[in-house]
């Protein structure tokens, strides 16, 4: 790697916060709900709509129950961390700003092969899509780079630029580790030893995998899905897009657990996703209306 000591997992986050903070991004906190990706954060979904400028960066814990591997697979996790940056409107030098962030975390583009490889992003559950790339570093996908074209079925006016860094992957790359669980979470001091990513999260992976694949009460979840749907609709009836959207996030996560439990058949899958999409779209529409924006 480069001459400087590789960043620990937490220093990676702090360095990105510092970098994007200096670029004028508001450094936000994670959304305090279970969700599958940073894109679900209202700072992305709702703020991508409407004409107002918006620049923010945040870490979002992302839960993917079906990706859980009981902490046994060195490359897969049921819960991980995304670093998300959203800049609206997308600035003309967004690629350069992004490359600047890679340099800040210690990746030298004359030593490592950085490439923008076509990858168009689509979220069927959010009714959203955009064009962009997956960014490769020596063949490893480290970031999703997207120009949002639509969100919740509405054209983005103006377009936001969205960057999603896979923090664990990036850290494995920077620290040259073969297993996520061996990542240095922090650095040792004279008094206190360093801890690894595995020290912090491995047991979570084990227990949550068992829960998601074997234990979760599916009747309760089907019921909760229904209730979240109803709650979302009642909020929409009262023109409350934010609480409505929170119920959409909840429904989406419940659906993901049901998927992990293997109780949703292939045929039913599309219909569940369609229901979540309707909730998310309804929330986006209510948000547009509340703000007085037209499609």
């Amino acid at each position: 790697m480069s001459d400087i000591a590789p960043l620990s997992f937490q220093d990676l986050i702090l360095t990105l916060h510092d970098y994007w903070g200096k670029q004028g991004c508001a450094i936000l906190q994670p959304y305090d709900m279970e969700m599958g990706a940073g894109t679900f954060h209202t700072a992305t979904t709702l703020r991508a709509l409407g004409p107002d400028p918006w620049n923010a960066a945040f870490v979002q814990p992302s839960r993917r129950p079906t990706d859980g591997r009981y902490g046994e697979n060195p490359n897969r996790l049921g819960a991980y961390y995304q670093y998300q940056v959203i800049l609206k409107p997308s600035p003309p030098d967004l690629q350069d700003l992004y490359l600047g962030s890679l340099k800040a975390i210690g990746i030298d583009p004359l030593l490592h092969d950085i490439r923008f490889v076509e990858d168009d992003w689509e979220s069927p559950t959010l009714g959203a899509w955009g064009l962009g790339w997956e960014v490769w570093c020596d063949g490893m996908e480290v970031t999703q780079f997207t120009y949002f074209q639509q969100m919740g079925g509405f054209d983005c006016k103006p377009v936001s630029g969205e960057l999603t860094y896979g923090l664990e992957r990036l850290a494995m790359y920077i620290q040259n580790k073969d297993s996520i669980f061996d990542l240095a979470y922090n650095n040792a001091t004279a008094d206190r030893p360093a801890i690894t990513y595995g020290d912090v999260f491995r047991e979570n992976e084990r227990q949550m995998s068992t829960y998601h694949f074997e234990v979760a009460d599916t009747d309760m979840l089907f019921d909760a899905f229904k209730k979240a749907t109803a709650e979302c609709e009642s909020c929409l009836a009262r023109s409350l897009p934010i609480p409505a959207y929170e119920q959409a996030i909840k429904a989406s996560h419940i659906f993901n657990i049901l998927q992990a439990r293997g109780v949703i058949s292939v045929q039913e899958r599309a219909s569940y996703m369609g229901r979540v999409r309707d909730l998310a779209k309804g929330s986006c529409q209510a948000w547009m209306e509340k703000n007085g924006w037209t499609a």
Binding site: S90, L110, E118, G130, G132, D138, G139, D155, V159
Partner: protein
């Protein structure tokens, strides 16, 4: 004369779009020139991930003055017509020219500066550019009407001779500055003219010629493999894709743990190629080696050691995933996997994949037991139609045992053939369906015949794909396609127009190829009824004959002749049908065949005009020689043709028809059919009817074109 350079610089253009984009740019540019009355001596286009460019040579500096004449109303036309014409032309009546009683508007157009033409054309080309997908970006995207490009457009270089062609689109102003390689060159690169474009960029680590990058990758990858004592597996698709991902391509060899070679090599090749865009290599024995070639976009400080190490790590992670799936899948018997197929819907109206498997297994066994597929291939056995009299089969106990064994294998293979759909590997790499099933079947000790059938039962996939010939494979493949076709047609879901969501056209072509290539003899109707999908398959039979026409077009078989044989009805053994068509085509394209066809058409016309034709009308006492000759010829030819058709001697049938040619010609030359004597007329019409019927035993000549 002068040269022109246009460069449209953007953020990274998807690799797969670059070749087509070059063509589109040349086309739009040439069209714009032509519209202005200009033409270039040559137009060359360039594409890299970050730019699309064009150099036109030999452009005139200005267009010629032209005089455009538009025809107007006649002298004395209604005033409204004249007013409309004048408004459109922007002229007054005294400015028109009158010639031969018609008014003409003549507009003298002065020559235009080529630079002005280009300044207008550039924004128009950009706005009209047909990217497969395009986007909005930046502050301008507050309006959905804002400029769209494949990715954000960043700069325009437009130089005619040594001068900038000034133009602007959405705040992007044309100039002489471009950018070099993203990492190897900082700051702008100033272009002087079209002549120094490629060299200036080469100095800035950008190779603008697509073909040069392709050659570098092709040769460099080969050399990298050779330097390690290996042979590169050539892959032109990868060459082009990597050329579309790099401005300064540097192929480098990396290695992976040889332990991964336990995984089937197709899996390794697929993940290397599709996920990572790497080439793979063979060792001196022609086996897959534990090496790959990646193509970097930089000449790294350290000679690429870090890049190779990084890529090796990525591939290792992917291969360990693949190895995990391989090992997990091997632990589960395919029979157990197959039970999970009840969970997968084949189609909501047609049940689960498990239901389909059950049907295919039954059908595959039936195909063998009916003798449509024999223990030895029909070609070896001497092709004979399936005999419905089962007593024949009882005669040879050895053959019967062979048939039972083959039927068992076909059913077994059919029961396993879809089981790999629920394996981890096929879940990850759907394109490996069939292939993985073959590996897993062999690993659990199935016979080669069964494992091969599982592997190859999707074949042939469309026209031109390899057609299986192994009996077990043919049985399963045929049964699979037959079931799909019959089920979808019986459920009322045939392809319509351009919509063929269940790929039934492809299934039909596969079905036909299997039948014809393997010379499989059977009534189509019997096969369709055996699917159990329904009782009547008229529309599917017609669909298959239509597909047969498409399939045979390449081989030069005439579609009208297929109709001529098929429309006789009763001929639904497609192998025999095609043999018949081919014999017919061979004959009908000779001068003699053409004459016979002409005589047939003449006879048919006369018969159509007549009413009350009786083929058995009695012969009058005074037959003329031509009548007698035709009668004699018919008495021999009609039964001969029928017998030859029965014996599948279609050349013989044609020969029988050929014997009618001279008598019928002579008959038409020497005899008046519509004689005044009603008895004579009735007999002659009867003769023509017998002639028509004789010919129609072989083919319905009314369907033959020409």
């Amino acid at each position: 004369m002068t040269d022109f350079l246009l460069e449209l610089r953007s953020e990274e253009i998807p690799a797969r779009m670059q070749v087509k984009a070059k063509e589109d740019l040349a086309r739009l540019f040439n069209d714009a020139l032509a519209k202005a009355g200009l033409a270039a001596a040559s137009v060359e286009t360039f594409a890299t991930p970050r730019r699309l460019a064009l150099i036109a040579t030999g452009l005139p500096l200005a267009t010629d003055a032209v005089s455009e004449e538009t025809k107007g109303p006649k002298v004395g036309a209604p005033p409204q017509a004249m007013e409309g014409f004048l408004r459109k032309a922007g002229l007054t009546q005294d400015q028109l020219i009158e010639r031969d009683g018609v008014y003409f508007a003549v507009v003298e157009k002065a020559g235009r500066q080529t630079a002005d033409v280009l300044a207008e054309a550039i924004p128009a080309i950009i706005r009209a550019f047909p990217w497969p997908k395009s986007q909005r970006w930046g502050a301008g995207s507050a309006s959905t009407e804002s400029l769209r490009w494949v990715r954000p457009l960043q700069g325009i270089v437009a130089i005619l001779g040594d001068d900038v062609v000034p133009c602007e689109i959405e705040g992007i102003v044309s100039g002489t500055a471009t950018m070099g390689h993203r990492f190897h060159h900082s700051g702008p690169v100033t272009i002087g003219n079209a002549g120094d474009y490629a060299e200036k960029l080469r100095d800035a680590h950008v190779l603008v010629h697509f073909s040069e990058r392709c050659a570098l990758i092709r040769d460099g990858a080969k050399a990298a493999a050779a330097a390690a004592g290996l042979t590169l597996v050539a892959d032109e698709g990868l060459v082009v894709e990597n050329a579309g991902l790099t401005e300064w391509p540097v192929p480098m060899l990396g290695r992976f743990d040889p332990a991964f070679l336990e995984v089937p090599q197709e899996v390794i090749q697929l993940t290397a190629r599709v996920n990572q865009k790497y080439f793979v290599c063979h060792d001196s024995a022609g086996k897959l080696a534990n090496a790959f070639v990646c193509t970097a976009n930089i000449a790294a400080h350290d000679g690429g050691a870090a890049i190779v190490a990084g890529n090796e790590k990525v591939l290792a992670a992917r291969l360990s995933d693949a190895k995990f799936f391989w090992e997990q899948d091997l632990k589960v018997a395919l029979d157990d996997q197959a039970t999970k197929l009840t969970q997968i819907t084949f189609h909501e109206k047609l049940g689960s994949v498990a239901d389909k498997v059950e049907r295919v297994a039954r059908l595959a066994r039936w195909l063998v037991e009916e003798g449509i597929l024999g223990p030895c291939s029909p070609a070896q056995a001497g092709a004979q139609p399936a005999n419905n009299d089962s007593s024949d089969k009882v005669l040879d106990p050895g053959l019967r045992r062979g048939t039972q064994e083959l039927a068992d294998q076909a059913e077994r293979a059919a029961r396993l053939c879809k089981a790999d759909l629920v394996t981890g590997m096929v879940g990850e790499f759907p394109e490996l369906q069939g292939l993985m099933g073959g590996y897993y079947a062999r690993a659990q000790g199935e016979t080669d015949a069964v494992a091969d059938a599982v592997r190859d039962h999707y074949k042939p996939v469309g026209q031109g794909d390899e057609v299986p010939t192994a009996p077990v494979t043919v049985a399963v493949s045929l049964a699979d396609k037959l079931d799909t076709l019959a089920q979808f047609f019986a459920a009322g879901m045939p392809p319509t127009g351009s919509k063929d969501p269940f790929a039934l056209r492809r299934a039909a072509i596969g079905f036909l190829s299997l039948l014809l290539q393997n010379d499989l003899r059977c009534s189509l109707k019997d096969m369709l009824l055996a699917t159990g999908a329904g009782n009547s398959f008229d529309s599917l039979e017609e669909f298959l004959v239509d597909r047969l026409k498409v399939q045979q077009r390449e081989a030069g078989v005439r579609h009208d002749l297929i109709d001529a044989v098929f429309s006789l009805g009763g001929e639904d053994d497609l192998v025999r049908l095609l043999a018949r068509v081919k014999a017919l085509q061979a004959y009908i394209t000779t001068a003699e065949g053409a004459n016979l066809l002409a005589a047939y058409k003449r006879a048919a016309n006369i018969l159509k005009a007549a009413d009350g034709v009786d083929a058995a009308a009695p012969a009058p006492a005074d037959l003329v020689a031509e009548e007698r000759a035709l009668l004699t010829a018919l008495d021999t030819a009609a039964p001969n043709a029928a017998a030859a058709v029965d014996a599948e001697d279609f050349e013989g049938a044609m020969a029988a028809l050929a014997s009618l040619r001279a008598p019928i010609d002579a008959f038409f030359d020497g005899v008046m059919v519509n004689d005044e004597d009603p008895a004579k007329r009735a007999f002659r019409l009867g003769l023509l009817a017998r002639f028509r019927d004789a010919v129609t035993q072989v083919a319905d000549f009314s369907k033959v074109e020409g």
